[in-house]
C-alpha cells in the first residue's frame, strides 16, 4: 500500500474502539440513559432528542458460546454474536434497545431478545423494506411517530420538535465531517487509509456527537496536511454485510490494496446523505430514510447498484471486494448479481464469504493476495 505515517488524531477513536462500552457506561454513571440500536435505519436523532445516548451494537471477535443453544448454527454469525453478548450480560446497562426491520435474522434476534434477555425493553421499528417509493410515506411516518412515542416513554419526557431539529443538525454536522474525511480518500494518493476511515466512522457512532465533531475536526486538519511518501496498489471499494471490525480492511491494505471507498453500514453508508434542515423534522427523517444508500436487505437492488456505480466513479475505484458474512442471506443473494453487474463494466469483483470471527484468516489473506496480484497484472 505504501507508507502512511501514523496520525496522532486517530488515537482517541482507537481508544473508543478498544472498549466500545466505556462511553455508554460513563454516561450511565452520570445518570444518563442509553438506548442500544442495531442498524442505520434507526433514527438515532430521536433518541438523542430525548436526552439519551444512542449506542450502536457491535459484535466482538469472541467465539459464540451461549447463543448456540438458542439459534441453530446456520443463523447469521453477527446476530448470534450479539445474542451471545446479551446472554452474557454485556448489555445489561441499556435502558432500551431498538432494531430496524432489515432481515430475517435481525427479526428473529428481536424475538429472541424479547423472550430470553432480561432487562431493558426492546422495540422493532417496522420500517418499509421497499424504499425510493412514495407509497410508503404515510406508513413509514406513522411508524416513526410510534417509535418517537416509545422513546418518550423510555426517557420519561416528551420530545419537542425543536429538540429534534437540534439533534438532526448536530448529527448532520458529524455526517458532514465524516463526509469530508471520506473525501480525503478521493485523492491520489489517498490521505487517509480505509482502515482509519472505518475506525473513525465506527468510533463516532459510539460517542456523543459534539465530542465527535471536535475529534473529527482535528483529524481532518492533521490528515489534510499528511505527507504520504508512497502509495500504490489498486483502488478498492469494499461493500457487503455489516463489518464491525476493521481487521479485514486492514488486511486488504497490508496486502497492497488501497481501500479508497466503502459501502458499509458501519462507515460511509451511515453518513453519505444529510437529513437536512428544512421542514418538519419527522418528515425529514422519513425522507432521509427513504433516500439513503440501500443495503441488500432492502429493495430495489438497482438503487444499491446505482449508488455503488456512483462511488466507483467518484473514488476512481478499480475493483470491488464484496464481503459477505456467513449466513447473511440478503447479501449472499445479491453477490452473484453484483459481480455480473460490475464485471460487465470491467470492474473486477472478489466475493468473500467469511465468518464474523474472521475464522479462516489465513485462507482469507491468500484470497485477498491472489485478487490483488491479479489486478496488478
Amino acid at each position: 500500500m505504501g507508507s502512511y505515517e501514523p496520525l496522532a488524531s486517530m488515537e482517541p477513536f482507537r481508544e473508543v474502539l478498544r472498549d466500545p462500552d466505556a462511553i455508554a457506561r460513563q454516561w450511565k454513571a452520570r445518570g444518563g440513559k442509553v438506548v442500544g440500536c442495531r442498524c442505520i435505519f434507526v433514527p438515532e436523532e430521536i433518541i438523542h432528542a430525548a436526552g439519551m445516548l444512542p449506542y450502536p451494537l457491535y459484535g466482538t471477535a469472541e467465539p459464540v458460546r451461549l447463543a448456540d443453544s438458542y439459534f441453530q448454527p446456520c443463523t447469521c454469525e453477527f446476530v448470534r454474536n450479539l445474542f451471545d453478548s446479551a446472554m452474557g450480560g454485556r448489555y445489561s446497562f441499556l435502558d432500551g434497545l431498538v432494531f430496524a426491520n432489515t432481515c430475517d435474522a435481525i427479526r428473529r434476534l428481536w424475538d429472541m431478545w424479547e423472550a430470553y434477555v432480561d432487562g431493558a425493553p426492546s422495540y422493532m421499528i417496522n420500517n418499509p423494506q421497499k424504499l425510493r417509493s412514495e407509497v410508503n410515506r404515510d406508513y413509514c411516518l406513522e411508524e416513526l411517530r410510534r417509535f418517537r412515542t416509545w422513546v418518550e416513554l423510555i426517557s420519561g419526557s416528551p420530545i419537542t420538535d425543536e429538540a429534534l431539529g437540534e439533534s438532526i443538525e448536530l448529527f448532520d454536522r458529524t455526517r458532514g465531517l465524516l463526509g469530508e474525511v471520506a473525501s480525503l480518500r478521493k485523492q491520489d494518493p489517498p490521505l487517509i487509509t480505509g482502515a482509519e476511515a472505518l475506525e473513525a466512522g465506527m468510533a463516532v457512532t459510539l460517542m456523543p456527537r459534539d465530542r465527535a465533531g471536535e475529534l473529527l475536526a482535528r483529524l481532518l486538519e492533521e490528515a489534510g496536511s499528511r505527507k504520504v511518501e508512497e502509495a500504490y496498489g489498486p483502488r478498492i471499494l469494499v461493500t457487503g454485510s455489516i463489518l464491525d471490525d476493521p481487521a479485514l480492511v486492514r488486511m486488504i491494505e497490508e496486502e497492497g490494496g488501497l481501500v479508497v471507498a466503502d459501502d458499509l453500514c458501519t462507515s460511509a453508508k451511515a453518513y453519505r446523505h444529510l437529513v437536512g434542515a428544512e421542514g418538519d423534522p419527522m418528515a425529514r427523517l422519513y425522507e432521509h430514510l427513504n433516500r439513503r444508500p440501500l443495503c441488500a436487505c432492502m429493495h430495489p437492488m438497482e438503487a444499491r447498484f446505482e449508488y455503488l456505480d456512483d462511488l466507483v466513479r467518484e473514488y476512481d475505484v478499480e475493483a470491488l471486494i464484496d464481503y459477505n458474512l456467513k449466513y447473511c442471506h440478503p447479501f449472499l443473494y445479491e453477490a452473484p448479481l453484483l459481480r455480473k453487474h460490475f464485471e460487465a463494466l470491467d470492474v473486477p469483483v472478489n466475493v468473500l464469504e467469511i465468518g464474523h470471527d474472521m475464522s479462516g484468516h489465513g485462507q482469507l489473506r491468500t484470497r485477498v493476495q491472489a485478487f490483488l496480484e491479479m489486478l496488478e497484472t
Partner: protein, 419 residues
Amino acid sequence: MTADSTIPEIPLPDLKVVEEMQMGIVTGLAEIQKEKAAGTPVVWCSVLTPKEILNSMDVPCVYGNVLGAYASIFGSSGKYCQVAEDDGLSRDVCSVNRCQVGVALCDDRDAFFENAFVVPDLAIGSNFPCTSESKAFLHVAARYNCPYYVIDTPINTWGRDIPDHAVEYCARELEGMIRFLEKHGFKFDMDRLKQEVAFTRALNTVMGEIEVLKRAIPMPMRAFDTVIAMTAPLALAREARKLGLFERLRDELRGRVERGYGVVENERLRLMWVGLPPLYDFTLLNYPEKHGAVIPKSMLEFLVGFTMDPDLMDPDRPLESIARAQLASPANPAYASAVEYFVRAARDYRVDGVVGVVMRSCGLVPGLQRLAKEAIQDATGVPVAILDLDGADQRDYDPGSIKAHLDSFIETLLARKDG
C-alpha cells in the same frame, strides 16, 4: 432436456380425491404452457403472492419455489443447487430457492420439467414470509430479463390489533402489483377480484372443516395426502380450481370419521411436524406409521394460507382483506402468531409429540424452533424433538440417521404414554 436421474420413491395418495388433485396439478402446469404458446405473458411468483389477484386477472403463473420443490421431489436437487452455486449463489441460502434459481439458469433441464417449465415474462416476489421469497426472484428476472415487482409486506409487530396504516400500506403494495400486471397487458376488474376473495372465503371454510376432521382419533388422512391437498389450490388447473374437489375430500373424511376409520390400524401416537418436510423423501412423512404413529398436522397447512380464518376475507373489501390476512398470517415472520398457532394446534390435534425440523439453509425457522419448543412444552407439556434436516437439498441427507432419530423419539413417546 435430459433423461431423469433416479427418481426417489414418492408415496401414492391414499384418497382417490387427492389423487385427482395431484392429476389436476399436472394438468394445471400444462395449461400454463398452452397459454404461453398462445402469447399470454407468464409470471413467476412466490408462493404467497395473493392468488386472488392473479386469478382475477387471468394471470398464468408459475410458483417459482414450487419448481424448486419439484427439482427436489424428483431427486435432482443436487444438480439444480449446483447450477445455482456454480453461478455464485451461496450454498447457505434457502435450498428451495437455490433449486428454483438452478432450474431457471439450467440449460439442460431434466425430462420431468418438460411439462412444468415455462420461461417467465414477468416476476413477482415478496418479502412475506422471508428474504428469500423476494431475493431469489432477482436471479430469475436477471436471467430472463423480466420486469420485476416486489410486494413489501410489513412484519406483524402489532399482534392481534393490526393498525389501519399497516393494512393500508399493504393494500397499496397490492395495488402496485395490479398496476404492474396492467402495464404488462393484463386487465383488472374489481368485481372479479371480489369473486375471488369470496372464493377464498368459501375454500378456507371447507379447508377449516377438513382441518377439524383431521383432529379425529383415529386420524382419517395420511400426512402425504395432506401435503397434496393443502398445496393443490395453488397449482390446480383452472377447471379444477373449484370447491368440488375439496368438498368431496371433506365428505370422504367425514365418512371415514363416522366409520371410525384410521389410516393406521392401531393408532398409538400423534405427531405434529413443524418445519418443511424433506421434499426429496416424502416417505418420511408416512414413516412413523410403522410405529402406529400419525402426523395429523404439519406446518405446510399454515404456510400456504388455506386454513386461515375465512372471516378475514370480506369480498366487499378485497384488497384490505388480502392485506389483513397477510399481516395476520402465522407465516408472517414475527414469531408470536406462529408460536401461538403451534400451541393451539398441539392442543387441537391432541398430539403426543412434535418433530421440529431445522432446514439448514433457512433464514427464518432456526431460532423459531427454540421459541416454539419452549412455548409448546410450557403450554401443553408435549415433548419436542428438533432434527437438523434440509427441506430441499438432499446432498447431505442421511435417511438412516434421521429415521433412527425418529425411531428413538417415537419409542420414548410411546414409553411415556404407556406409563
